[in-house]
Symmetry: C2
Subunit: 119 residues, 2 copies
DNA sequence: TCCCGTAGTTCAGAAATAACGAACTATTGA
DNA sequence: TCAATAGTTCGTTATTTCTGAACTACGGGA
C-alpha cells in the first residue's frame, strides 16, 4: 500500500483548499477535525449531515483533504488519526480558514433556525 | 434566450462560493472584477493567466460565478457588464471573500517572486 | 503462529461534471 | 436590412467523482 501523501506547506494552493472545502461532506468533516482537540478517525464520519457515506467514498474524501494540505493522517495501531494542519495554513494564508469556517458556522445556524421554526 | 439567473443573497451558499473560486481561471476573473471599480466585460478575459480561453468556456465560467452569487451581469448595449456582489456577501458571510482574495494575492506574489528569481 | 475482526485503501465500472467548437441570439451602427 | 460584435446554447468528448468489491495492514486471542 502506498504511503499517504502530505504536501509540504509551500505546495499547498488556495485553489486546492477551496476545492477540498467546496463539498458539503468534506467541509463538515474538516470543521469537526479543526474544532476537536483530539485527532478523529475516518469511522467517526460514517454518518455526516444525516447521510450515510460508504467507506470507500469516505476514504476518498479524506484523501482529498489530505492532499489539499488541510489534514495530516497518521496511523495509530489499527486506525488512522486525522488532525488539522490549520496552524501551518494560517501561517501561510492568514484568515483564510477562519473565514471559511465562520461562514460555514453561519450557514449551519441559519439551517438550524429554518428547521426549528419552519415557515 | 433565457434570462440570466442571479440567486437572491439568502440562497447563496458557502459551498457554491468555494466551488466557483476553486478554479484558477475563475478566481483570477473574480479577483479582477472585485478589484475594479468599473464593471468588466467577458471579453476582457479572453486571455487569463497567460492562457487563451475559448469564449464558450469563458461564458460557462461567468455563469458559474453568477449562479454562485459572486457577480451580477447586466446587458449594456452589445456587451455584458459584470460587477461584484461582494458587499452583499460580506453582509452575510463577513470575512469570507476578503480572506480568499487575500490568500489569492499572497499566492500570486509568491509565484511572481519565483519567476523573477528562478532557483 | 495462524486466524479473525476492525480500519482503511485501491480498483474498476458507472454516473455526473467540465471543456470547447459550431451554431445561434441579441444589440448596435452603417 | 445587413454586417459586425458580444455572449449564450448545444452536442460531443474528456475528466472527475461515486461506490461496491476486493485487498492491505495491524492487533488480539487461541
Amino acid at each position: 500500500m502506498k504511503p499517504l501523501l502530505h504536501p509540504s506547506i509551500e505546495d499547498v494552493t488556495v485553489e486546492g483548499i477551496l476545492h477540498a472545502l467546496s463539498d458539503p461532506v468534506r467541509v463538515a468533516i474538516y470543521a469537526q477535525i479543526a474544532a476537536s482537540s483530539c485527532p478523529q478517525t475516518c469511522s467517526d464520519f460514517l454518518v455526516v449531515t444525516d447521510k450515510e457515506i460508504p467507506k470507500s467514498t469516505l476514504s476518498q474524501h479524506f484523501k482529498t483533504l489530505r492532499e489539499a494540505g488541510l489534514i495530516r493522517s497518521e496511523r495509530q495501531g489499527v486506525e488512522m488519526r486525522n488532525l488539522s494542519r490549520c496552524l501551518e495554513i494560517e501561517g501561510r494564508f492568514p484568515g483564510l480558514l477562519p473565514g471559511i469556517l465562520k461562514a460555514h458556522q453561519i450557514q449551519l445556524g441559519e439551517a438550524a433556525r429554518r428547521t426549528k421554526r419552519p415557515a
